[in-house]
Subunit: 448 residues, 2 copies
Amino acid sequence: IRCYTKNHGSHYRNDYRDRGIKTSISDAEDSDHTKTLMQICADRYYIASGQLNIDSFQRGTSCGYGPMGLELRKNILEQWWKSVIGSRAEVFGISTLHTSKGSNTNIDGHWRVVDAGNMSQLLTQKDLSKDQLIQKLQTLFEKGSSVRTSLLQGALEQYVPSLELVNRKLPFGLAEKGLCFQPSNGSDCPEEVTLASLVWFCSPRTSSQWLDYWARHRLLWWKKFALGPSDFSCIDVVGEELREGATRGVKIVYSFPWGQEPLETLWSRGNADLLQTHKGSRSKLQCRDGRKSVVPHIVSVTGNVDRGVLAYLHNSLQQMKNADSKQRLHQRKVLKLHPILAPVKVALDMGRGPTQELRQVCEGLLKELLEGGISAWPGYFETMPTSMEQLNRKYDEMGVMFTVVISDSTLESGLLQVRSRDTTIKETMHISEVQNFVSRYITAAENI
Amino acid sequence: IRCYTKNHGSHYRNDYRDRGIKTSISDAEDSDHTKTLMQICADRYYIASGQLNIDSFQRGTSCGYGPMGLELRKNILEQWWKSVIGSRAEVFGISTLHTSKGSNTNIDGHWRVVDAGNMSQLLTQKDLSKDQLIQKLQTLFEKGSSVRTSLLQGALEQYVPSLELVNRKLPFGLAEKGLCFQPSNGSDCPEEVTLASLVWFCSPRTSSQWLDYWARHRLLWWKKFALGPSDFSCIDVVGEELREGATRGVKIVYSFPWGQEPLETLWSRGNADLLQTHKGSRSKLQCRDGRKSVVPHIVSVTGNVDRGVLAYLHNSLQQMKNADSKQRLHQRKVLKLHPILAPVKVALDMGRGPTQELRQVCEGLLKELLEGGISAWPGYFETMPTSMEQLNRKYDEMGVMFTVVISDSTLESGLLQVRSRDTTIKETMHISEVQNFVSRYITAAENI
């Protein structure tokens, strides 16, 4: 059974090229789109159960992820890393601590980790005067660690030891990814966010060109995996938003229905941060720029990977009206995540036939796929009778690239059915061909 | 020039099989081994500069990593994940938050994140009485988040929503990896540690067998990447060490010179934790075990990846006496990390010839290797004249698998020299063959 596919307005196109300028989208459609997306995130294992919160979802902070969301975020992070570390030999990865005992309270000291036991012991100590209590609390606080709010400081501290890696030659960069804690609106708890950062050290005379270089590099990267690339754009930071010390700023933003939100922020920051971190010792900081010695300027690039997850999810949800074999209209909802990003490449299911034998075949194929680095979903765990239409609906919403159905005839001839998410076409192939077929498809998508 | 290689006692063997029982190692040799290792970690970009601390190193807590250490930890984590998630279809990955606002203070509430601004504002408020101050501080504290000390609680909370994934059928598991904060001896600051966790839900009657299954599974995994597998072993937890509620415990330990330290800990924990997390609602928790309904028992598996980094580094450092071409004796130090774990597979260097042209060839090959997923090191950044012996010493200490030297003759004929860390043999091959050669070598090592 082939369904005919009708586009929902001209909002989405059936491929990975641009879907054009949104002119005909009403607010109601936008709101419906967001609501549908949130339902899918909850039902299809993207967001951990009980953690679906429209506010934090919109703010782009981290939440608990289910198996699908975890894999999507991992894929985005891996691609970010690969594109930044792999694009230039001069970029090195580092990993710094999440907490620091230093006294850099101005830069990074908004939140502190305090021993709850010590604290409550102090508060219940009867014989302390108020002043004594305050003094002891201050000491406890000062000894506590502060948690990082960005990845900049770690890179600045690793600047001097990294000079050996590059033979004191500019430009070069230090990249890091990981958890940071950010202030939340009106709450006493910090919000968690997964950041990916590049701190790029370059000669003062080229810093503005490098900002442009990296802004273009990052925008192209975000667009590469988008179903609708035009929702990703680049804006210059102007006026009051410009940070102290930064001469220029650029944001890569995604156009959500509720407004443009930054996915990645780039600053040209001069060398003040670097001098401050290393207490102004210029001689230690100097690098070669051609024949001159200079204290480098910094271009910082910071991506919010949690918001990136949301942007790609929002961007890839496609809703289309379908008619089934009996001419009943259905709304088809598909998460058309890019093949590289899709959390599950292949779902394995059982058709008709002897359960025990089919299950064994499924398990064998699953193991083979996993060992080949292809993420696969054990749909055969579900043993309740499900119609193929229900199954396809589920996998479309999960964004599963291919659905494989193993049945009676697989046991006889080794043949099985493979359905594609993007074309809805079913192909018959031999079980030994599946892994190669999927690998080739993903590799091809990577090179488009 | 070929060097003859003499083993240092019978301590190490020149391959990835066992190096036998250590009988002839004196304390002095052990201490020398550790000192050498720490020097290498600092000099060769494993540990971030300024963060080398023998105590925390020995305790197996996290520290800042340099580019090499970062990559080693990443490789270990990836292999851990692959072996646990990929080994059975019933294991699903999740990602939970690092902080929680809940009131589970008994389980996970040792450290709290507090807003430094609010705190210091309270402490400087003149008009508060001591009691008022205490009350306000308590409120501030209760509203604050607690940071997680393990990954168990997150998995317990995601148990119920995960039942749908497995159709309420036992056994199944939830895996997670990430940062946790642990108490440190005699310090007011928590220590950071990267844990990898599997929480395995199984029927009460099989929990003891599953503990054995996973203990064996994990031990074999640790040994798989070891140069000296006999330093990795398995011990039963007995007596007082047995946790409250746990009926059995097993530790995978590594024999450091200062004693055995646990790399991975397995507990058979019953179902008390699960019942407590879900407030005793048995009906919600029940799963199918054949035809019966049961509240599952838990086997928890927790790996300390930071200590794993240290164990593999310690295990793979090989010291041998070498004679050079002029019959001078040298101590050869090699980090013989398993090919899968080695942070850098190929280093690229320039020999004699026109610098500009050679550099271009190096850059091209580096890019090709990185795109092929082979981590490569831009040794050609170092333009100071270095002898091949110095270069080999450096790369041996870094644990670089292959050193490629591009020279005059590469420009003429495309031929270059490839030196192997493990055999010290140099081969001449065509530049177009390098990527394939290295890939094949790594794949072969994976399948041993």
